[in-house]
Symmetry: C2
Subunit: 420 residues, 2 copies
């Protein structure tokens, strides 16, 4: 009897993490001789700890195929990081108890940095706790901060959303600037790194194009320099379009979103960094502004996903199964860029030991000298990641995203587990 597989989604979800699930489950189904059922953890690793498993074999081929065009985590995700083997042996013993009960021999964990750390810890239970297990990580994160892989599935689609959105909104502002709005500020994700903010820069393909300013978390905010740049843009272009990362900090290391104003009760300003920046311009330069905070819209926008991103997400899910079938433990499939123009990529693999707890920073040479834009090198890197469209099917004017049955696997254990 072939061993069953466990698959779970972890951390913040993306527009394409389900495409990885699709690639993984479809590929597993092609190898019934080697992989039994794929059990998904309901809400990530929590599903394993609490023996709350989803039997994906109950889902039709059509529904599994529809995962490719469905955003978010179809099985539920979680924010939960396993402690080290030594620190928290009970957690690992519980995992082994559940895996044994359900004859699970493959562990696939689809997530970002923290999640690959979890994958790495689980990959050691064969050697350290005598439970043989093939453990393969599947990369995912809009933050694009995993090492070794050229980029992370999920990021390309956010990048496309941000570049498309700032282009469109900037066309709007350009129309209104003569007698009304002259400033547009769009806040994007990226608390620790400017990858997503940088993607906004793709919209500016030639001199004068919006966005005119990008505020990166990597660059300490300098109000005077910023306002001078805004003023110059309004004088030259008639308006100024700005992408700001939620992670921008002032020289004291405080997030700009929080360092500004306080409300009547002393609470920090509730409204993100975009209104802080917009209001600063209004007060100093007097221009009318509009601002937007994209928040979850940017990472769930499957309707404008990058085709490249969808294909890579699917390919890595598929590759994870293939690596497992080759008997590789403690690895993660990666994207390897082999050519920029034309863009070419292939699937490689990395050791989880080299991935866990390593955060890929955006190179400083990706930020232009004045600190407000991206360089040609950055554009060369980012451009291919947003290539192509991959539209979901529509009905009644709305994208048709699948909601799976998510039937529970009958519990086999009489024990329960209390999450800490």
């Amino acid at each position: 009897m072939p061993k069953n597989a466990f698959y779970a989604q972890s951390g913040g979800v993306t527009a394409v993490i389900n495409a990885s699930a699709c690639g993984l489950i479809e590929t597993a189904r092609q190898h019934p001789d080697k992989i039994g059922k794929v059990y998904a953890g309901r809400n990530g690793i929590i599903g394993a700890l609490t023996e709350d498993l989803i039997d994906t074999s109950q889902e039709s081929d059509a529904d599994i195929a529809a995962l490719r065009h469905t955003p978010s985590g179809a099985f539920g995700s979680c924010r939960f990081k396993l402690k080290g083997l030594e620190e928290s042996r009970a957690e690992y013993e519980r995992l082994i108890e559940v895996f044994k009960a359900h004859d699970i021999g493959y562990f696939f964990y689809n997530g970002g940095g923290d999640s690959q750390d979890t994958s790495h810890k689980v990959s050691q239970i064969g050697e350290k706790m005598g439970y043989p297990m093939i453990c393969v990580g599947v990369p995912k994160t809009v933050d694009n901060d995993l090492p070794i892989t050229d980029n992370c599935p999920g990021f390309g689609s956010v990048a496309k959303y941000v570049a498309v959105s700032i282009r469109e909104a900037s066309f709007d502002v350009a129309s209104m600037a003569k007698t009304s709005t002259k400033i547009f500020v769009m806040e994007v994700m990226g608390r620790h790194a400017g990858w997503i903010a940088a993607a906004g820069g793709l919209a500016a393909e030639k001199e004068g194009d919006a966005p005119h300013i990008i505020l990166f978390p990597e660059i300490v905010f300098d109000k005077d320099k910023f306002l001078a740049k805004v003023d110059a843009s309004v004088k030259k272009n008639g308006y100024c379009s700005i992408v700001v990362s939620e992670g921008v900090k002032n020289k004291n290391g405080q997030f700009l979103a929080e360092a500004g104003t306080r409300d009547a009760f002393g609470h920090a300003q509730l409204g993100g960094v975009a209104p802080v920046v917009a209001n600063m311009i209004k007060e100093e330069l007097g221009h009318k502004y509009h601002w937007a905070v994209a928040d979850y819209l940017q990472r769930s926008a499957r309707h404008i996903a990058s085709k490249t991103d969808v294909e890579q997400a699917y390919a890595l899910g598929k590759a994870a199964v293939e690596l497992a079938l080759e008997g590789k433990n403690a690895v993660m499939p990666t994207i390897v860029r082999t050519s920029n123009n034309p863009y070419k990529w292939e699937v490689g693999s990395a050791n989880l030991a080299d991935v866990a707890n390593v955060e890929k920073k955006m190179p400083f040479y990706f930020i232009s000298e004045d600190g407000f834009g991206i360089t040609a090198k950055c554009r060369e890197y980012l451009q291919p990641l947003i290539l192509g469209e991959d539209y979901p099917p529509y009905q009644n004017g709305l994208p048709q995203y699948v909601v799976l049955k998510n039937s529970a696997v009958p519990k086999k254990l009489s024990t329960t587990y209390n999450l800490k």
Copy 2:
């Protein structure tokens, strides 16, 4: 020699106002025997007052065709309302001076309520000031508040954007709800009416679907009732997804966005209504939240425009020229709905006298009894307006929107005009 035409865009722009410009200019080009050149006002009516006209005959057929898929106002818009003929005779005399100098016999004005008031005033200069002119309004507004016409071009695309976005973000929250975000709040436009907020309700096609709550400007905000509804949704669905109109007011008639907190300097909260609502939930119910403010993104999102909306915008631009060629003055083409299922529509026309200064309210029977959702009647009205997709062309992963040459028509007058 045929008379020339003047065309201008007015007020807040939309994803499809250029589709109307496209329909209008392409149709005018088919009648060179009756219409000479189409001159566009640079920044709306201001372009007429300052003799700043754009010669659209300098634009290629391909570039004019590309207007159909380009959001925003390609000739610039303005927020500028003409006063009455009696109050401000000088403005009208100046318009006639410019129209005479450039042999303009047709006046097309593409805008919302205020703009159609301007169209109506201009339509009277033939009778009242002896300058013969055919004046036709072209409807446009995301607010959907023009009377007589079934709906307004621009609204359907915002409606689609809002419905798609809240569906996608809600899938995201549903994935995260077990251990993280349980509340998502999306703020949409509509200071005076809930048309746009109502469109979010289209995403909820069956029991339990998001959004679970819509906050309308038509309904006085009741904090206790609202929090009870949020609590019930979290208990039932595991999360709660909310669409809030920027125009929601409390029982004192204050905008919720402004009535809440003040910063250390006594300034009103900068951050819109979404963070106010989200924070209220956090304080009272303790749930983790995320919020988004779509702002200009929603009205410029040509990448997800409604095909129905694009077709109607084009058809009304075309119809405006056809009405003018029939010699109709002081009219505006309209959308007439002839069937809901299957959805059918045709072009009609209204008198500007009946359109000017009349605001179409959302019927109260479009809002569900508890005040937090839409009725079947509302869905029946809104559903067809978001039907179909009409994707723009892409290059380098980005939508290719046209920027016209916008060459100025040489000035013929030695006089200048100072805007008041």
